[in-house]
């Protein structure tokens, strides 16, 4: 049985259609990344999964149960790390952990073991008497993740866990997530950072309430029929004006010294020929997730 199943989920706020027909399934031990820009509908999808919002239509299931159901035990097996600050800022690290441990009814011995383990991995042990609102962004996120992991949920929902986190803490967060995924936890994680997609087992690219592409990160970029290239040589300003009007292009963006272009399928030969008089040429590069996203959004 899939740990998480979403079928044709729709969710509207007054005038806004935030989620418009999302379907996906996540298996135990799988790390699924919901990748997309702000406003794509990621948080709404997670909110529906966590039982914090009613879907407008469609269904969500956690371990086969409706998280909104009256007799549902889904919440017992669910861990949530919301995007916003949602721990108690005036309580210390130790007190926040204790509180959530109690809410999930952990026995003292079990609680102490898990607490030590989590404080160890996150290296928060030294600060356990520090108030949560006195923590740096990265430390706070590590604490929030620890609170969500205390009861070792079978399904973990992480809403932009790495947002505003420094690279070192970010690596620690990922290490912590991997450790639990390896134990069989199903994780749904949202992120606006395209470069983080490659860290997931499977990715859903989300845009304007739809999943516009889904698959293993490598397969997705390999399967891109568009070509990605860097423009070498030529005068930058001239090239800009020239590329502006070309139909072959999906997008052009500066990448260091050079311009990086995404070319529609089969358009590279004509573009290359057209660039030659300007003293420039194309050099193919492997597409990354940002290219994939831009190409898919343009389609």
């Amino acid at each position: 049985m899939s740990a998480v199943v979403i079928e044709d989920l729709h969710r509207d706020y007054a005038e806004v259609h935030a989620v418009r027909g999302v379907s996906l399934a996540i298996e135990p031990g799988e790390l699924y990344g919901l990748v997309g820009p702000d406003g794509a509908g990621k948080s709404t999808t997670i909110g529906c999964l966590a039982g914090l919002m009613h879907p407008t239509s469609g269904s969500v299931r956690i371990l086969g149960e409706d998280p909104m159901g009256r007799r549902s035990t889904a919440r017992e097996h669910l861990g949530l790390m919301p995007q916003e600050y949602s721990l108690y800022g005036d309580l210390t690290i130790a007190e926040n952990l204790w509180f959530f441990g109690q809410l999930f009814g952990l026995k003292k011995k079990v609680f102490m073991e898990r607490r030590e383990r989590l404080l160890g991995i996150t290296r928060l042990g030294r600060f356990e008497d520090r108030r949560a609102d006195a923590l740096s962004g990265g430390m706070y996120k590590k604490l929030a993740l620890s609170c969500a992991l205390l009861h070792q949920p079978q399904v973990l929902l992480l809403d932009e866990p790495t947002n505003g986190v420094d690279p070192v803490s970010r690596r620690e967060l990922w290490a912590l997530i991997y450790e639990f995924v390896a134990d069989g936890m199903a994780v749904l994680l949202s992120t606006p950072y395209m470069d983080e997609a490659s860290r997931c087992h499977r990715v859903g690219l989300m845009h304007e309430g739809h999943i516009i592409a889904e698959g293993a990160p490598g397969d997705l970029t390999d399967g891109l029929e568009h070509e990605v290239a860097e423009v070498i040589g030529g005068d930058r300003a001239t090239l800009h004006g020239f590329l502006e009007g070309r139909d072959e292009l999906v997008a052009a963006s500066p990448a260091g010294e050079r311009l990086r272009v995404i070319i529609k399928p089969g358009g590279s030969a004509t573009l290359d020929a057209a660039l030659a008089p300007l003293g420039a040429s194309l050099r193919r590069v492997p597409p990354d997730f940002e290219d994939l996203f831009l190409a898919r959004v343009a389609a």
Binding site: P82, Y85, S86, L91, F99, C147
Partner: protein, 372 residues
């Protein structure tokens, strides 16, 4: 069992919030005492040294005796004899609270056992003072007339003595009458405010989403939040009554058990009202406004604290039936002044219990587990 663990965890967390930021404790314990002192010393309905002027048209032995009798107590001081046409001016300038006009033939009429007339002009701009002055002068006039009449009739001279006797508050001191009212009034405000802020705070800082993603139930949240503030509220009750007894010589004649039952039920109702407001508004600003208005006005105006319920228009009297402070004020006066116990006050306890339950049911029912 796990439910108890969760309630306990919520209560303990709430206690930590309160201790981390003791401002709410100052509010809960300081405000009642300050208000009690302000009201107790500042507000007095007692008549004290009001100037009384006399127009003596009778110029008799009896009229002089009457004047002397009126001003011998602490309520009135003699404002002097004036002419009839000065009376209006005295009242307008505020130099007299009332003018007593003793008509021609006052003594003669009394002697003959006929109706003797006194005219009393009262400055009605101070409503309370005017009412009390009227009552007092009427009473004194009647006693005087009665005594004068009996003296004439019975030659033995053993005049019947007329005496009024105010039970339960013999000196008719305002403070004694006010303390139960103030207690209910400040407790209502403090209790409603305390809980009105706590749920709204969870919404504002985003912790509600985190809480809702756990197995914790709505009723568990409601109870977990009530318990600590129940303790704080009980402390406030003890503090206010203690100060009332110590500073204002408030008596305590009735059953401590009745006092405890009434206080706990009243607190539960008020805390529940705060929770209900908090659940509805989800916003500390709005919750504060709603809490203050909804607790202050009814407990001040419709509880019988300041204005006797029997004197209210019929419609308002019906409205007071759903004001919990009414039952608490009545109950407190019963326990403290009249020496009542639960035998007399069980209807009040029942009314308070009904309100408390209603508030808890409403808060739980309107508590949406969704964030949008």
């Amino acid at each position: 069992m796990r439910s108890l663990t969760r309630i306990w965890a919520l209560a303990a967390k709430e206690v930590r919030h309160v201790l981390r930021d003791p401002r709410s404790l100052y509010l809960a314990l300081g405000m009642p005492v300050v208000m009690l002192l302000l009201f107790g010393y500042g507000v007095s309905f007692d008549l004290d040294g009001l100037p009384l002027a006399f127009v003596d048209l009778d110029q008799s032995q009896t009229s002089r005796e009457l004047r002397q009798r009126f001003t011998s107590g602490p309520e009135f001081v003699d404002g002097g004899l004036i002419d009839e046409d000065e009376a209006e001016g005295r009242l307008v300038s505020g130099r007299a609270m009332a003018v007593i006009v003793i008509e021609h033939g006052f003594e003669r009429h009394l002697r003959r056992g006929e109706d003797a007339h006194l005219q009393v002009l009262i400055d009605g701009s101070d409503n309370n003072g005017a009412t009390q002055t009227r009552a007092k002068t009427e009473m004194m006039g009647r006693i005087f007339g009665f005594q004068a009449a009996t003296r004439v009739v019975s030659a033995s001279g053993s005049a019947i003595e007329a005496r009024t006797w105010t039970r339960f508050n013999p000196e008719s001191r305002s403070a004694v009458f006010l303390v139960p009212g103030i207690t209910a009034y400040v407790l209502a405000i403090v209790a409603v405010l305390l809980t009105a802020l706590t749920v709204a705070r969870e919404w504002e800082r985003g912790s509600m989403a985190q809480l809702f993603a756990t197995p914790v139930g709505r009723l568990e949240i409601v109870i977990g939040k009530l318990i600590p503030y129940m303790v704080v509220g009980t402390l406030a009750v003890l503090l206010v009554l203690g100060v009332g007894m110590w500073v204002f010589d408030m008596p305590f004649r009735g059953s401590p058990l009745a006092l405890a039952v009434l206080s706990v039920l009243f607190l539960a109702g008020m805390l529940g009202q705060g929770l209900f407001i908090s659940v509805l508004t989800r916003n500390q600003m709005v919750a504060t406004q709603a809490a203050t208005m909804s607790s202050m006005l009814p407990s001040m105006l419709l509880s019988g604290f300041v204005f006797p319920i029997e004197n209210m228009p019929q419609v308002l009297q019906y409205i007071t039936v759903v004001v919990p402070a009414r039952y608490f004020v009545e109950g407190l006066r019963g326990v403290l002044l009249r020496g009542n116990g639960l035998e007399e006050l069980w209807p009040n306890a029942l009314a308070l219990l009904a309100f408390a339950l209603l508030m808890m049911v409403l808060s739980t029912a309107r508590f949406r587990r969704t964030i949008a």
